[in-house]
């Protein structure tokens, strides 16, 4: 298989303060994860798509797939205890593939074109990142250090990696007992020192995390997806 994809849907709704995980919250008329699935559906050269989510939401996710006639190429499995473990389990479920694309269920405004650029990229490992428009400091209760903003990148998903290299990096992390990587470019770079190309991300590809993001999301949907501001 040339291209596989892992979609991370591990949320449990804690930060949203809602009884259901945020990927199932309705945004612009449908569950947030469905926005993503409908984009991925159009990527016909992604041969298999594995969604990882908490065990208690596997059936609900599977039902969403069935309602949209997606159940063939897409499947849903129980994720891991950490994001890192969920990616690993997703890759195992995908099996042998050349490239693995990783995305999050709660970034609904990714475009088909953004996926295409990654998949068609000549680079094995390629991610999206955007400039950081605000000052970032190191520290918790007190400032411990300053960071040079111009050297930093706000990492966005989706990302594409050479599946063999990423699997090897995950194996190394597991061998060391590390499970604290919150993103895969950092994990791959840490263990493999692989060259990872950074492409300019988009402002609208936001991650729905806090309740305010739902309000912003509705505005983005109206303006960019439907192409109509409120009359």
């Amino acid at each position: 298989m040339k291209n596989g994809m892992v979609i991370l849907a591990g949320g449990i709704g804690k930060r949203m303060n809602k009884p259901i995980p945020k990927q199932f919250l309705i945004l612009a008329g449908k569950p947030i994860i469905v926005h993503v699935l409908e984009k991925v559906e159009q990527l016909t050269d992604v041969e298999r798509v594995v969604i990882t989510c908490p065990a208690e939401y596997v059936a609900q996710t599977q039902t969403l797939l069935e309602h949209r006639n997606l159940a063939g190429r897409f499947c849903c499995i129980e994720g891991g205890q950490t994001r890192q473990e969920s990616v690993y389990k997703g890759m195992l479920e995908l099996g042998e593939c050349e490239n693995v694309v990783i995305h999050e269920a709660v970034r609904p405004f990714v475009t088909v074109a953004e996926f295409r650029v990654l998949i068609d990229s000549e680079y094995d490992n390629v991610i999206y990142g955007s400039r950081i428009p605000f000052t970032v400091l190191a520290g918790h209760e007190y400032v411990e250090d300053t960071l040079e903003r111009s050297r930093l990148v706000n990492v966005q998903l989706p990302q594409k990696f050479n599946a063999g290299q990423l699997k090897a990096a995950h194996d190394s992390a597991r061998a060391e007992g590390r499970d604290d990587f919150t993103e895969d470019a950092s994990l791959l770079f840490h263990y493999q020192r692989s060259q990872i190309r950074i492409l300019e991300g988009s402002e609208r590809n936001i991650k729905i995390t806090e309740p305010t993001d739902l309000i912003i999301g509705e505005a983005i949907y109206n303006e960019y997806i439907l192409g109509r501001a409120q009359d």
Binding site: G29, K30, E38, H67, R68, I225, L226
Partner: protein, 237 residues
């Protein structure tokens, strides 16, 4: 070439719409649904059949569980579903205290539940290409009609459904229209107002012309609103 599904196609506005749309060169496949096999045969007989595939399927839409396999079979046979006209309707006017459970059940099953289910099933196959859905509600759905509770409230539900689906399906390029005909010389109207001269009111063909205009590719601006279709009586001299 387009595939068009029409419910309630055995008489009245449904029949007139089928006949009118059979003149459209870009609609090749027609699926006509209604309970009455003989009524459907009559519709087919009036349609332009040249170069058209017309499938008349006697169907009881109140059996909503049968809709999913029906629509799947249509898609598998024709390869696309492009137009859905929800025209089937049921009316049994009665005052609240005379409205039986059977009346409210049948009215809602035909006018609301079947419309939701057939729309849901069609959208599964429509959502990857520009398509159109048109629902026939009624002026009874937007004005108070004492003595018509079940029918009027079910038509109000159709108006609401159209407004919601217009927004929900916009991303897929699916346009949703709702029209609310006023007095129209259908078999149903004849039953409800037997004393009325049907030649003095709007004809089903007038409504069919409006439907043809709306579902034409050139129409791009009118979805989302409930369009009242009525013919004012000729001025008295």
């Amino acid at each position: 070439m387009k595939t068009c599904i029409i419910t309630g196609a055995s008489q009245g506005i449904g029949r007139a719409a089928a006949v009118r749309l059979s003149q459209e060169p870009d609609i090749q496949n027609f699926v006509l649904l209604a309970r009455s096999a003989s009524g459907l045969e009559g519709t087919v007989a009036e349609m332009n059949r040249e170069g058209k595939n017309i499938k008349a399927l006697p169907t009881d839409l109140s059996d909503i569980d049968a809709i999913e396999p029906l629509i799947k079979a249509v898609y598998e046979e024709f390869g696309s579903i492009d137009l859905l006209l929800n025209i089937a309707g049921y009316a049994e006017p009665a005052a609240l205290l005379d409205t039986t459970n059977d009346n409210i059940r049948t009215t809602y099953f035909i006018n609301v539940f079947a419309t939701v289910v057939i729309t849901r099933e069609c959208v599964k196959y429509m959502r990857n290409h520009p398509s159109k859905i048109l629902n026939v509600a009624s002026t009874a759905g937007v004005t108070p009609r004492p003595g018509w509770l079940a029918y009027a409230s079910s038509k109000a539900a159709m108006v609401s459904m159209g407004e919601t689906l217009t927004q929900e399906l916009a991303e897929y390029g699916i346009k949703v229209y709702t029209i609310s005909p006023g007095r129209c010389a259908t078999e149903l109207r004849r039953k409800l107002a037997p004393e009325e001269d049907p030649t003095t009111i709007m004809q089903p063909e007038h409504v069919a012309d409006v439907i043809a205009t709306l579902i034409h590719d050139d129409e791009t601006c009118l979805d989302g609103q409930n369009l009242v279709v009525r013919q004012l009586p000729a001025p008295k001299k």
